[in-house]
Amino acid sequence: MSENALFARRIDVLAEIFAFTTAAFARQGVPAALLADVDFVLEELFTNIVKYSRGKAPVAIEIAAIPQGVQVTLTEPEADRFDVTQAPPVDIALPAVQRQPGGLGLYLIPRLVDSVQYGYSEGERCGRIVFRKTSAAPSPGAAKRNGEERC
């Protein structure tokens, strides 16, 4: 079982995304303890698209229950290639006065989920991010895929 929904590219749509994930988790029996981390990853990915992408078409989110967890797919049409799994490193050991908040979102994503994969279709100009979160212990570091995708 999986559920899909489309979301306009506006920051205020975040509330709709969170309502969708909450309802989909409940309907599919995904453990609620995983919801905050999934919402975090979706927020970081979605706001990144809203801030930096030139496309206008709605973004699709699919949620599918898997054993002990969930697989989430975010599809961005009219996309430029941007591999979110290759985010620049962040020095988290800096003292407060030298810290900057920028870049933390993408840095944290692979640390909060079991896996994250990025794919891009040149022909369709479509980006797709698939991540999995389960009740198993998180495994920092992301699997990466740069193969040709179909949207």
């Binding site: 975040l14 969170f18 905050a36 927020e43 706001t47 962040v90 800096l94 908040p101």
Partner: protein, 97 residues
């Protein structure tokens, strides 16, 4: 949705979700506070990187004036975010539960 109450002589109580849509309002509220500011996070269910940015900016401003930001009663989700981001090394954080 996020609600913020308190400050001054009492802890600042954050309730709800501190995401990108709420960051500006939270920043505006915290910008008014001085000294050692305690955030009661017992009802803060969710925090994104936008919220981390609010906490960092506030802490740096307070540090510059001899104060600091401290957090109490953070849940597991928040603890993970603080740990993976290194914020647990720059902020005083009391899990509290």
């Amino acid at each position: 949705m996020l609600t913020i109450e308190g400050g001054g002589e009492t802890p600042v109580v954050l309730s709800g979700r501190l995401d990108a849509t709420q960051a500006a309002a939270a920043q505006s509220y915290l910008d008014r506070l001085q000294g050692v500011v305690t955030l009661d996070c017992s009802d803060l269910q969710y925090l994104s990187s936008a919220g981390l940015g609010v906490f960092l900016k506030t802490h740096k401003r307070l540090l510059g004036a001899g104060g600091r930001l401290r957090l109490t009663a953070v849940n597991r989700h928040l603890q993970d975010i603080f740990s993976y981001s290194g914020f647990d090394q720059i902020l005083e954080i009391d899990p509290g539960r």
